[in-house]
């Protein structure tokens, strides 16, 4: 199934609003009147407030904590220290990667901002005040701030408490065929090399993380409201951490989360301490992070030092790829990470191109930084991989003297080659890359732009045209390969249709603003003909939804959406039997379309889905179980592979290094689009975050490990003023193995666009001798790169 299709013909009317209709979002009705429910809006009777004391330095022995002055303050109920947590065997917790992480420091501080103690008070202001009255004595140790330092032979061990750990290495991972890759490099005319750092970034959703823990002192029932992208997995981990029986833990991720982007996947010490405090005190305890807490201590992303080498012929044919990586994991390996892929889903590193050999070696190192490795709007490590190959391909084209678009077209995996097995052994499901790139080129007026670029150079202007064509792997995943802390990555949907034909759909995935309440209702609408507005979607409550692994890695539509389609089809099968009974026809003759059950060839003999729903409770065939409901756990046969062709046009100021975006054209193929309006909104957002990382957004540290960027005045996020306008295009090549042909889209633009932006800047200055500028491509870096190239040249 590789032919480009238009969005498949709509099989529902606008009033039903199934797949393909850009219907307005149901969730907006509450959000536009200020009636959303976010974590901080949860208020329980008798609730106490928690504030966390954080370490002021990156590496230090903990000598002593004296909390007596804080404990004596009016309004302070308790001060929780690591020692107290240790008494309850809660000082350490497992991470999603199978590492351990300190909940509160007991032995030594391992990153600036690490959780040292917590105050529980009657008022959040008092809780914050009391932090100042906790006296902590530290013995400062030298900080290790880069992974290169960390793996030196004489480096001090950061994780000296960890059994079996002898150095600062976290993992070593290899993929591909080293021998075949060596042979490809020997046969090559040229070897193109790129060394670059994909900088540490922070997802920084506008709502910070938080929890309201409510442990009933009598029953032991723990109800934990928590900003969670994966409530079911969190419940299981909570049971493991705290030793609470899992059936007595209810995780409620509030109806509305103020963004997630990967930041709300991990379990943070604050969640655990708040729960422990509620358990000890017997009252609900609320903890909401400040922005600084969020920026310095929670889920960083990226931080990969990458070296890529591409073996190419003088004719511009790629023969092989070699990659060496060193990732900075911070003090605890806390990625949400399938255990079978220690460096993450680095398997799209070969990109969208057809060549036989690749070999990837990746090492991870502990440093004195906050635990890193959340994927941040990409699947595991795909954005790093995609950036590397697309930057390499750009440079390779330049070195062999080809246009970078032409170079890509020459090397693309061709439509007839799908399903395509990559040199690292993964199977791309479907695609038509040449059509995508050509369509983007036509739209932007590529040939004319290149001519304009030549003219501009003659006039002393620096115009750059950046191309990127990415393939992403989303929808984790087939449970044979993908897990979180060992829990297999299926997802689920439970559908109940009520007698009057209205339905409740409960899903294991959790929205953070992506519009699940609308999108998932549209899948039901397409399958059963029940209007999308008649379907309520429930999510985020482990007591009221089937087990699922949550929302990240763009897996909601590929996995949760598939589960929804399949469970709806189960109901349709039963509904067909009931319709046959009502119409006194053979089941095989019943057709369902747009909510109407017809006898084939007799359009007059019809009953509606609403008639059938009522009959499911009132007028059933002999012996049939009443009701119209079901559940499905969907384990996808493969990942899905959305892709896109992005073209960015920039102008660089030679004197200042500033660059401005003139055009940004993004063609995305995410398979079938359920709600085109929502898909486009997701793309806008992802492109903005890609632009942010390319141009300004990064978290830096000084040599002592102090985090530079603990607030929005130092951690730069683009405003409306800087953000470029985007021109969106699409092709639709459905996923052949997904029930509705959808692939997932939310992360594609973040994965694909950084290379497009950076390639554009490089393209503008490459003729001056500049071959690389690391992200974020700040004006001073551009200026310095030009200056260095000109001095050298």
């Amino acid at each position: 199934m590789t032919a480009i299709e238009d969005q498949p013909e709509l099989d529902t009317t606008p009033d039903v609003g199934g797949i393909g209709h850009a219907i307005k979002r149901q969730e907006d009705d509450r959000l536009i009147v200020g009636q959303g429910t976010y974590l901080d809006d949860v208020v329980l009777p008798g609730m106490l407030h928690m504030s966390i004391l954080r370490a002021p330095m990156a590496h230090a022995k903990l000598i002593s904590i004296d909390a007596s002055a804080a404990e004596a303050m009016d309004g302070v109920v308790a001060v929780v220290t690591g020692e107290l947590m240790a008494q309850h065997d809660l000082a350490w917790m497992p991470t999603l990667s199978g590492d351990t992480q300190a909940v509160l420091v007991t032995d030594k501080v391992r990153f600036q901002g690490q959780e040292v103690a917590a105050v529980i008070a009657t008022d959040p202001y008092i809780a914050a005040d009391a932090l100042e009255y906790i006296n902590v004595e530290y013995e400062q140790l030298p900080a290790i701030t880069t992974p290169q330092q960390a793996i030196e032979d004489d480096a001090v061990m950061i994780r000296d408490e960890k059994e079996g750990q002898t150095d600062n290495r976290v993992y070593h991972w290899e993929s591909g065929d080293a021998e075949a890759t060596d042979a490809a490099f020997e046969a090559a005319d040229r070897i193109v090399t790129l060394e670059t750092h994909y900088p540490r970034s922070h997802p920084s959703p506008l709502e910070t993380c938080g929890a309201v823990a409510d442990v009933d002192p009598v029953t032991g029932q723990a109800t934990i409201y928590v900003t969670s992208q994966a409530p079911h997995a969190h419940r299981t981990l909570f049971a493991m951490v705290a030793g609470l029986p899992e059936h007595k833990i209810r995780i409620i991720s509030p109806a509305d989360l103020g963004g997630g982007f990967g930041n709300k996947v991990p379990i943070y010490p604050g969640y655990v301490v708040a729960t422990a405090a509620s358990l000890l005190i017997g009252k609900p305890v609320k903890w909401v992070e400040s922005r600084s807490d969020n920026l310095i201590s929670t889920g960083f992303a990226r931080d990969y030092h990458m070296k890529g080498e591409l073996a190419v012929t003088d004719e511009g044919k790629i023969l092989g790829l070699r990659v060496n990586m060193l990732s900075d994991q911070g003090a605890f390996f806390a990625d949400a990470q399938p255990t079978k892929f220690k460096a993450g889903l680095f398997h799209v590193v070969t990109g969208s191109y057809d060549y036989p050999a690749a070999h990837v070696v990746c090492d991870g190192a502990y440093t004195n930084k906050a635990p890193g490795g959340v994927a941040y709007r990409c699947s595991f490590r795909i954005t790093e991989a995609s950036f590397l190959i697309e930057r390499l391909v750009h440079n390779a084209a330049f070195e062999v003297g080809m246009d970078p678009a032409e170079f890509r077209l020459k090397n693309f995996i061709q439509p007839e080659q799908f399903p395509y097995t990559t040199p690292t052994g993964f199977v791309y499901d479907s695609g038509d890359y040449p059509t995508a790139l050509r369509k983007a080129m036509d739209h932007v007026g590529y040939e004319a732009l290149r001519e304009e670029q030549r003219q501009a150079r003659e006039d002393g202007r620096l115009l750059g045209i950046g191309v990127a064509h990415f393939t992403e792997a989303v929808g984790a995943g087939p449970s044979k390969d993908y897990d979180i802390a060992g829990i297999k990555m299926f997802d689920s949907a439970e559908l109940r249709v009520h007698p009057t034909g209205k339905a409740v759909l409960k899903v294991g995935v959790k929205t953070q603003g992506q519009g699940h309440e609308t999108t998932f209702a549209q899948i039901v609408a397409s399958e059963l003909g029940i209007p999308a507005t008649d379907v309520k979607v429930v999510h985020g409550d482990t007591d009221n939804t089937p087990y699922g692994l949550g929302t990240y890695a763009s897996r909601s539509t590929p996995v949760g959406g598939a589960a929804t389609a399949v469970v709806a089809r189960k109901l349709a099968d039963k509904a067909r039997k009931i319709a046959a009974h009502l119409l006194e026809a053979a089941e095989g003759d019943i057709e369902l379309s747009n909510g109407q059950f017809n006898v084939a060839g007799s359009p007059d003999r019809t009953v509606s889905i609403q008639d059938v729903s009522l009959a499911a409770y009132t007028d059933l065939p002999e012996g049939m179980e009443p009701g119209l409901e079901g559940v499905h756990y969907y384990d996808p046969p493969n990942l899905t592979y959305p892709y896109g062709s992005y073209i960015v046009v920039v102008e660089v100021d030679l004197d200042t290094g500033e660059w401005t975006v003139d055009r940004m054209v993004a063609l995305d193929d995410c398979g079938v689009r359920i709600n085109p309006m929502i898909v486009e909104g997701q793309i806008h957002g992802g492109l903005t975050e890609g632009y942010a990382m390319s141009s300004m957004q990064w978290i830096t540290f000084d040599e002592d490990g102090n985090c530079i960027g603990s607030n929005y005045m130092d951690y730069m996020i683009p405003t409306a003023w800087e953000t470029p306008k985007f021109e969106l295009l699409e092709t639709v090549v459905p996923s052949p193995h997904h029930p509705i042909g959808a692939k997932g889209v939310g992360e594609s633009p973040t994965v694909g666009s950084p290379a497009a932006f950076v390639n554009a800047v490089i393209d503008a200055v490459q003729h001056l001798g500049v071959t690389n500028i690391d992200m974020p491509v700040m004006p001073h870096r551009v200026w310095e790169a030009i200056d260095a190239a000109q001095s050298a040249g």
Partner: protein, 195 residues
């Protein structure tokens, strides 16, 4: 025993969404906390505590201000409008309707503030250009939408207001138009707001 909280409570009176509230407050209470916790109006959010992200924006005497870095006592005697006050007489404000229509929101966390800034802008200029809208909302961060649809939403609301289809009295509309026509430094006004 150290008690930092001992302070003389003060009485603060403000009109919020047309309703006057007198409250006994610790003088250090931030306006945003008073609105959210004291008055229970949770549509106003907290995002950064440093005036940078703008999700706590409310209108104070018609001007957008950031409620996370202002004490409630400083708003004594003021007229405050929060997102809960946008809807009038059961009718959505045009900016609310437009945000839904033009997909101007995703997670919704920045949305109340964006709509209030948009409404304030449209009070001054109901036909703003792209740059005018972008400048007006440049003190408000969004992580989901990429801003394009927010800009469109505010412009769409302006179009609806110009067409008079917002439940606003026709006389009021004319008055707004006259004000808009005045030769005023639009960007400077919004810059003051951003600062």
């Amino acid at each position: 025993m150290t008690d930092l909280t001992t302070s003389t409570a003060v009485t603060v009176t403000m009109t919020v969404n047309g309703v006057e509230h007198s409250s006994e407050l610790d003088p250090r209470t931030l306006l945003v906390d008073h609105i959210r916790t004291g008055l229970g109006l949770t549509g106003t959010h907290i995002g950064c505590d440093t005036t940078s992200c703008g999700v706590c924006t409310v209108l104070l005497d018609g001007k957008p201000i950031k409620a996370c870095t202002m004490f409630a006592v400083m708003a004594d005697g003021a007229e405050i409008m929060t997102v809960e006050g946008l809807k009038q007489n059961g009718e959505l404000h045009p900016v609310q309707a437009a945000f839904k229509e033009k997909h101007g929101l995703q997670c919704g966390y920045c949305t109340p503030a964006m709509m209030l800034v948009g409404a304030a802008l449209l009070e001054e200029n109901d036909d703003p250009g792209d740059d005018e809208v972008r400048w007006a909302i440049s003190g408000n961060l969004c992580r989901c939408t990429g801003y394009m649809n927010i800009v469109e939403s505010i412009q769409e609301a302006g179009a609806q207001m110009r067409a008079g289809s917002n439940g606003v009295e026709a006389d009021d509309m004319e008055l707004q138009d006259e004000q808009t026509d005045a030769d005023r430094p639009k960007e400077a006004t919004m810059q003051e707001v951003a600062e």
